[in-house]
């Protein structure tokens, strides 16, 4: 079942002449974990806003094409109805703290209060999501007294607790250390395996290769490549366009020049793939 359907989307911000997105079409099926990569200004965040309904409901500007989420056309559906289906978390965790609450526990409950969830269910859901994102011990702290990484987990928990059908994440691990990033990826993977559809903008190529089902590379507002992580992330086209490659791909590329990498094998993206390839050469 297609849950997110972006059809020939072109969007220009109000004060700008050049479109940020031109003719972008993509479909995401239920339970899929789609990663979007791209350089600064490629239109990744704009695409997130469009999928979460903030374009056209929050940002003015000109939008052509259509976006359907959970069967609803975002053009004619109210933002309130869209946010019940699509959860959006973005990069700067500090600005995602509502400011209306004095503890992490209450902060996470904020969205549930707004949608009128009865108190007993609210507490159950908040506690469940805090355990899932490993922030239970922060429950009574002020959200403003937390570190960037902790705030980022709170921001993610605050969206997950609303149990959206689609989760749109714009660099949700930017403030996290490697261990923290891995944990967040694992949580998100688990949510997608339970049937939540995930679209995630991310730079951490190795994690994408390990967890995502499909990757889209966005370049200058257009889709440059699309496919399985292993195919897309090691593509020479990416390097040509100035994308960062994983360190394993970079090492293997050097190895190819010195005949140290098996010619019939695609370049590796993850540690696992690199180990397999190199052990075949040495063995």
């Amino acid at each position: 079942m297609v849950v997110v359907d972006v059809n020939e989307l072109t969007y220009t911000y109000p004060a700008s002449a050049k479109p940020v997105l031109s003719n972008v079409s993509l479909k995401v099926t239920q339970g899929e974990f789609l990663a979007i990569i791209g350089n600064n200004g490629a239109g990744k965040s704009t695409l997130c806003y469009a999928m979460a309904g903030f374009i056209p409901h929050f940002f003015r500007g000109s939008m052509h094409g259509s976006v359907h989420v959970a069967g609803k056309d975002t053009h004619v559906t109210s933002l309130y109805d869209i946010v019940q289906q699509v959860g959006l978390a973005f990069q700067n965790p500090f600005n995602q703290i509502s400011g209306a609450k004095f503890t992490v526990y209450e902060e996470i409950a904020f969205g549930l209060e707004n949608t009128g969830v009865p108190r007993p269910q609210m507490m159950e859901r908040v506690e469940k999501v805090m355990a899932l994102t490993s922030i239970t011990e922060l429950a009574d702290r002020s959200p403003y007294s937390l570190s960037g990484g902790q705030q980022q987990r709170v921001a993610l928990a605050s969206i997950l607790v609303m149990e959206p059908k689609v989760l749109v994440l714009d660099e949700p691990t930017s403030q996290l250390d490697p261990v923290g990033s891995r944990e967040v990826f694992q949580v998100i993977k688990e949510m997608s395996q339970r049937g939540m559809t995930v679209v995630m903008v991310e730079h951490k190529v190795e994690w994408i290769a390990q967890f995502a089902d499909r990757v889209i590379a966005l370049h200058d507002g257009q889709i440059l490549l699309e496919g399985k992580p292993a195919d897309v992330l090691a593509s020479p086209l990416l390097e040509e366009k100035g994308f960062g490659l994983s360190r394993y791909t970079q090492v293997a590329r050097q190895a190819v020049n010195r005949d140290l990498w098996p010619a019939d094998r695609p370049l590796p993206v993850t540690l696992q793939e690199a180990v397999e390839g190199f052990s075949r050469v040495s063995g």
Partner: protein, 260 residues
Amino acid sequence: MTTSVSLYVAGDTGFHRLHPITKLTITLTLLLGGLVIPSAWASYALFVGFILPLSIWGGIWKQLIRAVWKIVLPFGISIFLIQGLFWGEGTTLFSIGPFTVEKEAIIFAFGSVGRIMLVIGSFLLLALATRPDSLMNALTNLGLPGAITYIVVTTIQIAPRFQSKARTIIDAQQSRGLITEGNLIIRGKALVPLILPLVLGSIVDVEERAIAIEARAFNSPGPKTSLVTINDTRLQKLFRWTLFLLMLLLIGFRIWWSLT
């Protein structure tokens, strides 16, 4: 670093547990009492008779007295000096050189100081023992628009962030050679590169924050629920209505007084 500019002192006394609206009603009644009763002594009587005992009950009397003292002392000194020396005519108490001090002036100054003590004391009684968010929630339940509640509570929390952000900008600009100390002109010039990033940055922040709360259904048209429950009792309701009646009586008394 402080996490909010709220005056609230956490505690678990009976006074803390009173419904926020009950505490608000007490504050309003005290204020009205002090302003309406036509005696310089009234404010002092209310302060000693109600504010002090209640603050002791709430375990906040230290903070309360310290704050009242800090504000009232400088004000009191200046009001006694100015009124005492420049009152004009009246019953002369004593003279110092060319200045005479009148009895009426002292009574007036005494009354003013009392009123300020009452106003600050009764406000602090509420602010020190009431969580600002629960007060605002209670007011929302009474019909205050949710957006107003949001603005008040976020301002309390975001003001310290704003300060620390300003500090970061000042440090950054100074490290790039901006001179911020010196005479008025130098300081004035330095203000532009400090204010501009702060204001522009804040506008961006506001946009993101608006998206974030919108993504959490802040503008939902349906009924909302609340995680924090505020305990209310029959007795407190009765007490609030009694105070409310008392306030009406006080106002009535004041009108009657000024008519006769």
